[in-house]
Assembly symmetry: C2
Homo-oligomer: 404 residues x 2
């Protein structure tokens, strides 16, 4: 990790902990045996449009997944063929040019066609084959995406969510290749999986592996496959603005889960979840814990799930948050104004390239508008220091900027 005391702090570059890869069409086809090329996820041109084809289903790419380079007036959810995407969406070398232009020193990318935590392979009819495809993705991320530009990409792996012991083995395999983060779900329940509160401790093999290997559980907003809906006919814009209810629910679930006590090295990253909601929910969690824990403990017979095996008398919300929970922001002025309440060691920045929330190509200037008034050391933490520490990642030296 870069030592912030060794030199004048370079505040011209950021590490983005939430960007997106649109998988290149040949990702799997190039890696599987010839007999499996039609069976592996692959792209077919159907009626003039590119579709990913896998397990008997077709998936077009949404224009909203490839907004980079477009004006907001041009964003569209209509299907988009690869030929109309900015190459940085799917090409690791072209992406580096876009990163250089925007002041992005390094980037952690979530996958697209696999969905945020590999739901594609979990939902497939043949999970054994799905696991092979998942492993190909993991190898590709390390070898080809990250390999294309050493020191510029932080690898993120997928796990077979349907088989925690197998997931633990895969985590071990990828940790040996330098991977420090795996994609997890903000809420496994809507995916039909046991939650982190499961009394059978379904997730223990995964969390034990993460604890042992010091791998970060990275949960992208939407990784529960849930779209928040205030009411069946509430305006889409209202639902969109309400998105952080998923991330806030995830944070509260984890803080009250007991996981961090059982696995003291475990850290979670709430990706694209923003941070401005954190201070309120942390304070509220402390208040209900202080005042309501007696009757909640006593109320067991009156309520489902009134109790957990967590000792509520010793639960320290702020300490658990400080030691285990990380958030990130794009343009969250309120979150940064509240940084003193959240803690400057727990927040990172992101650029969401190439999605519609992205500020690309004005990423570093955009972030500096939000944090530029803070002390240089704080800025450095938010821009890259915290990400370097959390993901145990040393980025390349910043390039001389050619395209800015």
């Amino acid at each position: 990790m870069t030592d912030p005391n060794s030199t004048v702090l370079n505040l011209d570059w950021l590490i983005s902990v939430d960007d997106h890869i649109l998988e290149p069409p040949n990702l799997w086809v190039d890696r599987v045996a010839a007999k499996d090329r039609e069976r592996a996820p692959h792209v077919e041109l159907i009626d003039g449009m590119d579709y990913w084809v896998y397990d008997g289903k077709r998936y077009p790419s949404s224009g909203l997944s490839a907004c980079a380079g477009k004006a907001k007036e041009e964003f569209s959810p209509e299907p988009l063929p690869y030929s109309e995407m900015r190459p940085g969406c799917y090409d690791a070398k072209a992406r580096i040019e876009d990163m250089d232009r925007a002041g992005i020193l390094a980037s952690l990318c979530f996958p697209t066609i696999t969905r945020f935590c590999g739901q594609l392979f979990m939902e497939a009819s043949d999970r054994e084959f799905g696991f092979e495809m998942l492993q190909h993705f993991n190898d590709w991320v390390v070898e080809e995406w990250c390999g294309a530009a050493p020191g510029r990409y932080i690898p993120l792996m997928l796990i077979p969510m349907w088989d925690p012991p197998l997931a633990a083995k895969e985590m071990e395999r990828m940790a040996a290749k330098g991977v420090t983060a795996f994609a997890f779900s903000e809420n496994p329940a809507p995916l039909g999986l046991p939650t982190i509160h499961d009394h059978g401790r379904y997730w223990d093999p995964v969390m034990a592996a993460a604890n042992e290997l010091r791998m970060v559980a990275s949960m992208h907003v939407g990784s529960s496959s849930q779209v928040p809906q205030i009411a069946p006919d509430s305006p889409f814009m209202a639902n969109l603005a309400w998105g952080a209810i998923r991330t806030s629910g995830a944070m509260l679930s984890w803080l009250f889960s007991g996981m961090f006590t059982r696995y003291p090295n475990l850290k979670i990253a709430l990706s694209e979840g923003e941070i401005g909601w954190m201070p309120y929910f942390l304070e509220r969690a402390e208040q209900v814990l202080d005042k309501q824990r007696y009757w909640v403990s006593r109320g067991q017979k009156f309520m489902d799930h009134a109790t957990t095996d967590v000792d509520m008398d010793t639960l320290n919300i702020r300490e658990l948050f400080r030691n285990h929970v990380y958030g990130c922001f794009i343009e969250d002025h309120h979150g940064i104004a509240s940084l003193g309440e959240i803690g400057e060691d727990n927040i990172m920045c992101e650029t969401d390239y190439p999605h519609s929330d992205s500020t690309w190509p004005n990423c570093i200037t955009g972030v500096k508008k939000v944090i530029g008034h803070l002390p240089a050391e704080t800025q450095y933490k938010l821009l890259r220091g915290n990400a370097e520490k959390l993901y145990r990642y040393t980025p390349a030296e910043p390039p001389s900027r050619l395209n800015g």
Copy 2:
């Protein structure tokens, strides 16, 4: 309304815009014809416990509805007979003594057995009779509860949620008696009712009446009869801390509903919803509106509810909030720290007597701990000025405090 410039500001008393009445057992029995006494909501002693009996169902009072005077260690959800409640729970004169002791100058109370917006009568098998009972409640609130101590209680009426034209008439009837607030639902959808986005404009008679009569739509958290649940087995404490997702959803629904444009006098009060979540969700709403409205407008054919009849190009989130939305707090330090972002004219305080969130008997001292560092004029607005203005209410002169 008290003129804050006329004198040295009295910061020793507050107006609470969210407290609770446990209806006295004889409320309806005393008002209906003799033949209806068994049919009206009434209390029966069954196996040593008081139950409200109505429409063939029995309802005990939860101990959590009557915590006043108890230490937090004693709070309990177990059923509680009236004889074990603090008289201030159900007796308007006894309540005044408790208010005097805690520095509560005036109080707006939500009902209990009727539920927060009169769901009891809506769900009854005979809604015509239910409406009679609802009218008795409204008359009782004005005549007996508020009448017991003029200038100390702000009346809140119920409306027949199932019949908006009838509701409008009832609002007119009660407005003539000085009522300036009606209970509405934070989200009518889970109650089986059309939402405020209903294309058939189900709620127009109510909102037109509120606009005309300048009545505040007061939505208590939980008035959708929904209990937030992060996942089916998420710890109860996590769900409890997550409660504001209902209020935040309500705020966003209203801001994007177009209601405030159609009814410019309409104001909504989010009761017991706290305020610390507001700045984030307001900023997020502005951001999605700025950046995503083009594709959302264009995306109609790809999504349900992608569009509303609201003109998103002219929608001003902050202005709508400032002119129409009111929140209140008990101990929300983050909300008060963010008051500059929320606006000091939109926030009131509450004491939640006699529920488990209440700080009683330390209400005024509790609020002063949170706001005491603010300028006197700001404190005055939060303590009472904003409530007086919103509810067009002039409280009695503060009594000399006897019990403090």
